[in-house]
């Protein structure tokens, strides 16, 4: 080949190809996203089904790889609200040593400041839930192939979930901005109470959701009614609340009608065993009105769907490994003292005569005999305490399982513990702290009964209120619900004897006990006992208006024993709500206003 041909070929090819690329540069520069979908690919029934599932998936507040869904640590956005509902409400101590996760300390002491990043991450997680619901509603509007009936179903489930996320926001932060499927400017002011809009969402769900669902995890009409009743109760609209609860409580529990059912068609009721509500093997029972479905060993090699937000809340130096947080308070334990007739000491449970004996200040090798006085059996399904069986793990050894008694007292939380015998199935050990498949109950039927009792009492229907409360107490008194001693303390998996683990004495209130003076205190106290460590307490105290009085007394009492409440001082009119996160105010360009007092 001659040189000229080389030249010709070389330059010809190059120039030619250069022209090709230049000519096609439009296509060459179009690079589609890989591994993701655009809105044009999901505006159909399957897409909406998946979006809806994604909206449910935000219930647990968890992102990937041990983060909260909007950033931060998993526990900052835990749906169990163990920090904001239980620790802030005096159910529990933060736990661990005082310097571990220090931002929780001011929350426990009603000294929170707007800059505390925990609030920001909780806020972000809840609004991510709202966003997912809004994306369903937006996509419905651009889905031509989806039938009207399907659209209605998708929309009503989305609204149920959005109602939940907003209810959480409303009870946390009081005045929050409303963002819905029509919002384009995300810097909305927080100058309007959103309760009416929450009502609308739940009402829409009540109107359109079916009574049962093909999937047990889905919300149904009855769950929407229960939630609507809860919203009314928070709004102090007692008559409407009663009307809602009347529809869902079966006559077996004192309701006026047939009552509601769970999504899988079980008539609402209380399980025989209180503990079944906190066991992954018995989840989605008749008591489960609406729960977050948790999974273990789900193929993700993570605990993101396995109560990741509560990963810290296991006894320390124990077979659960980590991390010694969420320790029930001494005040809570004392609340389970009953009188010889089996009724609680509603006002003076903390008196020296009634306080429950504990091992505070004792090392594990120092001898200790557990309290022998009468106790509500729920104590030992709520609190893990020295000398009492912890499921099939052995008797609680006391100090050895506690990171720092001086910080947070002698107790461990029990409602989130899995069983040794079934840990291979129901616990998830893929992270540095365990996860479990125990569902978190957003509303369980016992809660519904107590809410209904509250509405009735507020409407002066004391006998009806007492019926509901006694239904709850009778379940607690059911012999199936009693914790027993081990056959062999050194072989806890060998089973239990018939000997109760403690001196359990509990009874229903005698007929006519509830009066205008006694009903509400008894109902409030029953909520404390029944729903302890379920993230409810703070929000109950706040809406009852008793938070300042109750919590200031709690700080006063509890700080005799532990060092973590030294600054506790609840300011009425301020601390009932948490501050709007400073970061969000900064990002809002002045549209968000802080709650009063902060």
């Amino acid at each position: 080949m001659s040189i000229k041909k080389y030249i010709g070929i070389l330059s010809g090819l190059s120039i030619g190809a250069a022209i090709v690329i230049a000519g096609c540069s439009k296509g060459f520069l179009d690079k589609p996203a890989l591994g993701a979908l655009t809105s044009g690919q999901i505006n159909n029934k399957d897409g909406l089904t998946a979006l809806l599932n994604g909206a449910y998936a935000a219930l647990d507040g968890q992102g990937q790889n041990n983060t909260a869904i909007g950033g931060g640590n998993p526990w900052e956005a835990s749906p169990s609200n163990w920090i904001y509902g239980s620790v802030a409400g005096g159910d529990s101590h933060k736990g661990s040593s005082i310097s571990d996760q220090p931002p929780i300390v001011p929350i426990a002491n009603a000294q929170e400041i707007p800059a505390n990043g925990f609030f920001n991450n909780k806020w972000r997680a809840l609004y991510e839930g709202v966003t997912r619901c809004n994306n369903i509603l937006k996509t419905i509007a651009i889905s031509p192939t989806v039938s009207a009936a399907d659209k209605k179903e998708f929309a009503s489930e989305a609204k149920f979930l959005r109602g939940h996320y907003y209810f959480e926001l409303r009870k946390f932060f009081h005045m929050v901005p409303w963002i819905d499927e029509n919002t384009t400017d995300y810097r909305q002011p927080n100058n309007t109470d959103i309760f009416p809009k929450i009502e609308q969402d739940f009402q829409a769900a009540v109107d359109s959701l079916p009574a049962t669902q093909p999937s047990v995890g889905k919300a149904n009409k009855w769950a929407a009614l229960c939630y609507l009743g809860k919203v009314y109760l928070y709004e102090k609209k007692y008559a409407q609340a009663k009307a809602a609860f009347d529809q869902v409580i079966p006559s077996a529990y004192g309701g006026p009608g047939a009552g509601g059912t769970t999504s899988n068609g079980l008539s609402y009721g209380l399980t025989d065993r209180f503990e079944d509500n906190f066991d992954a093997a018995t989840k989605n029972s008749k008591e489960s009105v609406f729960a977050i479905q948790m999974t273990a060993n789900d193929g993700t090699n993570s605990i993101a769907n396995a109560n990741g937000g509560d990963m810290l809340n296991f006894p320390y130096n124990s077979p659960f490994r980590c991390c010694g947080f969420f320790q029930p308070s001494i005040d809570l334990a004392n609340s389970y003292r009953t009188d010889p007739t089996g009724l609680p000491y509603i006002t003076d449970y903390n008196s020296t005569a009634h306080a429950v004996k504990n091992d505070q200040g004792l090392k594990s090798d120092a001898p200790f005999t557990p309290d022998a006085g009468p106790l509500d059996p729920r104590i030992d399904w709520t609190i893990a305490r020295r000398g009492i069986p912890v499921h099939d793990w052995g008797n609680h050894p006391g100090n050895n399982w506690i990171r720092d008694q001086g910080s947070a007292g002698p107790y461990s939380n029990k409602k989130n513990l899995y069983w040794q015998a079934s840990m291979g199935t129901y616990s998830d050990q893929s992270s540095w702290a365990p996860g479990s498949a125990i569902n978190y109950p957003i509303i369980r039927f016992a809660d519904v009964l107590l809410m209904a009792a509250e509405a009735e009492a507020q409407l002066s229907n004391y006998a009806q209120a007492e019926t509901y409360v006694n239904a709850v107490r009778n379940r607690a008194a059911n012999p199936a619900n009693i914790l027993h001693k081990y056959i062999d303390d050194s072989h806890p998996m060998a089973g239990f004897t018939n000997t109760p683990a403690a001196n359990y004495v509990i009874s229903a209130y005698p007929a006519g006990y509830f009066t205008s003076a006694t009903a509400l205190p008894a109902i409030y106290f029953e909520r404390k006992l029944e729903l302890a460590c379920e993230g409810q307490r703070f929000f109950d105290l706040a809406r009852w208006g008793t938070a300042a009085q109750t919590l200031n007394a709690y700080y006063q009492y509890e700080r005799q024993f532990t060092g973590d409440l030294s600054t506790g001082n609840f300011t009425a009119g301020k601390n009932e709500y948490f501050p709007i996160p400073q970061q969000q105010i900064d990002l809002s360009n002045g549209t968000l206003k802080q709650n009063s007092g902060y």
């Binding site: 040189i3 070389l10 890989l34 994604g54 449910y56 030294s566």
Partner: protein, 1121 residues
């Protein structure tokens, strides 16, 4: 087209020899041989021309030439790096050896710039030319490290970690994101030169201003480094270059940790402090002691550390000899970690955890190259082996690189060639990273020294006995990685062709890029010996990745010389494409702990897998479960042109233009970037002629716009929905163990994003005086960068999807770069050379977001919710921010007075002057003079960027001895020493290791003149001690480091038997021999966590356990055959 066979200007891009052959007036053949004055070696490739004639030849490999010339003609001999020589033939036939003197001024040196080559004296842009001879003296594994202190305007921060890419910045910060410069290796743009063999490099130029680098348009904003690899020349040359040495970690008590006896004293002190402070509150008195030190009135060291269950009873803590708890017969360790009874002997003398993980380590490198060439072609092959064992155990970089560079001439007008290298790399880095909590180094400052490394049975001991808090055994963290493996391979290079089309016009096409792949696996076993075991079952992760990118460049160059005019025009187009794929999985559980038996298929537990394709290389050995966000491929199309004009060798003008299209942008896909530059060689003017001491003086200036698109992801424009199992799947059926497909918005789209624009002004001069004995280059620059792409934090109400980059920010950089070179012969045998570089950094954020908050905060660490670093308008990038400590609260009366004053100042609204104020705790400055302390009292506490950096190389040659020292220093920066958070506050993690400061220099009721606050076992951790960022952690970070001291000796022309060795040089070298600094930490040279290197721009200079640069001692040998 027709071509003339004579009268042709040959143009070569790599040597830019410009020579012409004139019509022949052949009379006779003249021969000669050209040698160098310096080493008497042949000068290969020198051009020999007949003056005013057409004949021209090049010298061969032996320096010899033959040329047809007349008796009275004069030969003009020229070669790069040598003074031009004119030799009258004067009737001779053989001219014998002709000695050329090396050019002193180097002004005629040709340097490769953007798509062109230029003589140094014609440069109008700010171009730093790296003296490779100096740079190579550093025993560095990669080219970036070679630049530290060697080129003005460049700052390099390295760590001691083998294989960690150093942090390089050209003229400070240009964006909030990726600040890595663009490397152009043999014409191929890349951002990764980690595996480039430093021995293969022929030249390195750093293009700093718009005038020089704007031709690279879209990717020029961070600066451009032009690297040219070596060619073979002359007859076959074989050379060997190697060294072997040892690296020594810093000695002493690295973190100033208390021994176990002192640890007990601190425990008691902290408890007694609590009891004193709580004197009025009997119920808050705590008993002295803990499960390790007993409960007596004084701490007692235990003999044994025990943790386990015995007959169902938990036994945990410290025990004395003879205690049944320590009976070795009870020892039991279940490899699954579910059951155990562990007994370890307390290390009463104290375990030096730092030196349990940092050990002496060898380093070696061997390089063989073979090269040669003549006027028909050239070739170079090299083989490089580099093996650096890290001083941190089980970290190393083992790399093989082979290179083949060849070039051929086809006829007289076509040149083709290739430059290609393949590297194979094994590079395990510190498990869990560096400079962050969770690394082995981070735990070496935390693990209590009373814990031994191993228990009585040789298993790892740990913090599981109660009272030792929760650190993990740092030795186990590193040692359990011993079976991890990983290997990466990368092919990088290009092929090219050049053709001379017309006189002065040539065309070049180059196709190059990289193809890479890698694989690695990790195996973790249960660590029941730690108080908070990370793994309860064996966990095995395996991952691989591969990808490629290519760049195709076509350019036409036209060179026009007439009289005093010299014009060079280059025009071209370029296309670029990039895609990356990742694949991996994790499995839990395995039948045995034998690492050889485990793979993804043999695990007994859950297996997960992932795959994705994106623009991010997801090689992240420290984050096995990391799943990259969705991505897209990337592509660029560009058109560009440049013109350089020289008039009378003294007036210089340059202009460049580039138009870039990027796949990352949609509505603003195309960007235009231009630059103009001018220079005036004032020394060539008549009025300067008399100043003979000035050899050359040029003043230059440029202005232009550079672009940047690194900070937008490939998917930036798209609104996307993703289906992540952890965040969007849900167990809607209530199974408890399985998930149903779910979707959630994963990316918010910003289709309107566009190019970042960096407006750059540069003024400088190049001065050479005293015949090249001293030269100075200095530049002043001003960069004004707008439309910075920044991932705004959006309001939470918009959800948690990935936020796109928006063009919302601005910043400014100004500074001065100075480089001084000196060389002189002190005596005939004693030569001195010196280089000084000086670089200032002055960065200011001018806008974060016009419509939002004028700052953003990053890096919270243990200050949950409040941040160490604030990037704020009017302040430099990554400034430290927090409360300023002005002393201690020495009495309750002081606090009460302050509270009363606060109440007065606030009209009763504020009753607490400072949150958590307490006796012995920090008192903060009232930054905004409001009368009390809250969030708004915080102030800027320091700047991690130095005010300036400097380096100086001093060299002495005496006969065959050579001696050099190289110092590098930074001045005016601050370091956030977060190590102190762990060591100086007992309450941070009670029971873990603490520092001598905590015991001996903390506030007490008798000693108010202390460094650290009161050590309080119960309430010691609060907003007035260590839960908020404050100035206690900020230290001056200036340092001056003896980077390198070398002594060498050269033997010339050694004949050993039949072997003839032209040159042998042996040298001894010490690197990082000493450092002058006031910084109290291990190493003031703080890089970034490797996991975070790309995003390090807004967060750096935070020390939480650095991988210190070790001292190195090397013996090296260079042989040339």
């Amino acid at each position: 087209m027709s071509f003339k066979t004579n009268g042709l200007i040959r143009l070569c891009f790599f040597v830019c020899l410009l020579f012409s052959s004139l019509h022949l007036f052949a009379q006779k053949k003249i021969t000669g041989r050209v040698i160098s004055s310096a080493d008497k070696q042949p000068v290969v490739g020198a051009t020999v021309q007949v003056r005013n004639g057409k004949a021209a030849v090049q010298t061969g490999g032996d320096g010899a030439f033959t040329i047809d010339a007349g008796d009275n003609s004069t030969l003009v001999i020229s070669s790069i790096g040598f003074d031009k020589l004119e030799i009258p033939v004067a009737g001779r036939v053989s001219l014998g050896d002709i000695t050329m003197s090396t050019t002193n001024t180097q002004l005629n040196d040709v340097v490769v710039t953007g798509y062109a080559v230029q003589r140094k004296k014609d440069l109008t842009g700010a171009v730093a030319i790296v003296d490779l001879a100096d740079a190579r003296k550093q025993p560095v594994p990669d080219v970036v490290n070679m630049l530290q202190g060697q080129a003005s305007g460049v700052s390099v921060v390295s760590s001691g970690q083998p294989g960690q890419a150093p942090l390089i910045r050209i003229r400070g910060f240009n964006s909030f994101g990726n600040n890595t410069p663009l490397y152009v290796v043999d014409g191929v743009p890349t951002q990764n030169v980690n595996d480039l063999n430093p021995n293969d490099i022929a030249s390195m130029q750093i293009l700093k201003d718009a005038g020089a680098s704007s031709i690279y348009g879209a990717r020029a904003s961070n600066g451009v480094i032009i690297i040219t690899t070596k060619r073979g020349t002359g007859k076959v040359k074989v050379s060997y270059d190697g060294y072997y040495g040892t690296q020594v970690p810093q000695g002493g008590n690295a973190f100033n940790i208390l021994n176990p006896t002192e640890g007990g004293q601190l425990l008691y002190k902290a408890q007694q402090n609590n009891n004193t402070l709580q004197a009025g509150n009997p119920s808050n008195q705590i008993p002295l002691g803990n499960p390790i030190y007993g409960t007596g009135s004084t701490p007692v060291l235990p003999d044994w550390l025990v943790n386990g269950n015995y007959n169902g009873v938990a036994v945990t803590g410290g025990f004395k000899d003879g205690d049944p708890a320590a009976d070795p017969a009870r020892y039991f360790a279940d490899p699954t970690g579910a059951n155990y009874y562990q007994i370890a002997r307390a290390n009463k003398g104290g375990t030096d955890w730092y030196h349990e993980i940092f050990k002496k380590a060898p380093i070696q490198q061997h390089n063989i190259s073979v090269g040669g060439g003549n006027d028909q072609g050239n070739y170079l092959f090299s083989l490089n082996y580099f093996n650096q064992q890290g001083t941190l155990i089980n970290t190393y970089l083992k790399r093989y690189t082979i290179r083949a560079n060849t070039a051929y001439k086809i006829g007289s007008r076509i040149r083709v060639g290739e430059n290609i290298a393949y590297s194979s790399i094994e590079n395990p880095q510190a498990n869990n990273g560096i400079l962050v909590e969770g690394s082995a180094i981070g735990f070496a400052m935390r693990e209590n020294p009373i814990i031994p490394v191993y228990d009585i049975q040789g298993n790892f001991a740990g913090s599981s006995p109660k009272g030792l808090n929760n650190p993990r055994n740092p030795v186990s963290i590193q040692k359990t990685t011993a079976n991890d493996r990983g290997i990466a391979g990368r092919l990088f290079g290009n092929v090219y062709g050049e053709v001379d089309l017309l006189k002065g016009l040539s065309f070049r096409t180059s196709f190059g890029g990289e193809s890479y792949s890698g694989w690695n696996h990790f195996y973790h076993t249960p660590d029941f010996y730690d108080a908070e075991p990370q793994y309860t079952s064996p966990s095995y992760t395996e991952q691989s990745y591969n990808g490629y990118n290519w760049t195709w460049t076509n350019t036409a160059t036209y060179n026009w010389v007439k009289g005093d005019h010299n014009l060079k025009v280059v025009g071209g187009m370029e296309a670029y494409k990039f895609i990356n794929h990742n694949l991996g999985g994790t499995t839990l559980g395995s039948f045995s702990n034998d690492p050889n038996a485990v793979n993804l298929s043999t695990g007994t537990g859950t297996t997960t897998n992932y795959s994705n394709s994106n623009g991010i290389i997801n090689f992240n050995p420290n984050s096995p479960n990391y799943q990259a966000p969705v991505g897209a491929g990337e592509s660029l199309v560009s058109y560009f042109a440049r013109a350089d004009y020289v008039f009378k060798e003294k007036y210089l003008l340059g202009a460049t233009f580039r138009r870039d299209g990027s796949s990352k942008f949609i509505t603003n896909r195309w960007g235009n970037f231009y630059a103009v530059s001018a220079g005036w060689r004032i020394s060539q003017e008549d009025f300067m002629r008399d100043l003979t001491w000035i050899t050359d003086l040029k003043i230059r200036g440029s202005y232009g716009i550079m672009g940047n698109q690194f900070n937008a992801l490939g998917t930036n424009s798209y609104t996307l929905y993703g289906s992540n199992k952890q965040t969007a799947y849900y167990d809607i059926n209530g199974t408890g163990n399985s998930l149903i497909y779910g979707l959630a918005q994963s990316q918010i789209g910003n289709p309107d994003a566009k190019w970042e624009q960096d407006g750059n002004t540069n003024v400088g001069f190049d001065l050479t005086i005293l015949q090249g004995k001293l030269s100075v280059s200095a530049d002043w620059y001003n960069k004004s960068i707008k439309d910075l792409l920044y991932q705004l934090t959006l309001p939470g109400t918009q959800g948690a999807a990935i936020v796109p980059a928006y063009n919302v920010s601005k910043m400014k950089n100004t500074g001065i770069d100075v480089m001084v070179n000196g060389q002189t012969n002190i005596t005939r045998d004693l030569k001195f050379t010196g280089t000084l570089t000086f670089t200032t950094i002055n960065n200011k954020i001018t806008q974060v977001n016009a419509n939002g908050t004028p700052y953003f905060d990053v890096d919270s660490r243990r200050f949950n919710g409040s941040f160490i670093v604030r990037n704020q308008v009017g302040h430099p990038v990554s400034a430290f921010y927090g409360y300023k400590v002005i002393g201690f609260w020495n009495s309750q009366a002081e606090i009460d007075a302050a509270n009363q004053a606060a109440a007065k100042a606030s009209q009763g609204r504020v009753t607490t002057y400072q949150a958590d104020a307490g006796v012995g705790r920090f008192r903060y400055a009232d930054g905004n003079h409001q009368g009390w302390i809250n969030d708004s009292s915080k102030s800027f506490l320091g700047n991690p960027s130095p005010k300036f950096t400097y380096g100086f190389n001093l060299g002495l040659n005496y006969k065959n001895f050579d001696f050099t020292v190289f110092f590098y220093g930074v001045y005016g920066n601050d370091i956030w020493n977060n190590v102190k958070w762990w060591t100086d506050f007992y309450a941070s993690f009670p029971g873990a290791a603490s520092s001598k400061t905590a015991l001996y220099n903390s506030w007490t009721f008798d000693n108010h003149n202390a460094k650290a606050p009161i050590q309080d076992a119960v309430n010691g951790s609060n907003a007035s001690t260590n839960t908020v960022p404050n100035s206690y952690f900020v230290e001056k970070g200036s340092y001056l480091r003896a980077k390198n001291i070398t002594l060498g000796y050269t033997f010339n022309n050694v004949h050993a038997g039949k072997a003839s060795i032209s040159r042998i040089r042996a040298y001894l070298q010490a690197a990082n021999l000493f450092t002058v600094t006031k910084y109290s930490g291990v190493d003031p040279e703080i890089s970034v966590n490797a996991m975070n290197a790309q995003n390090g721009a807004t967060d750096f200079g935070v020390d939480e356990g650095s991988y210190a640069n070790p001292r190195q001692y090397l013996l090296g040998l260079q042989i040339q055959f």
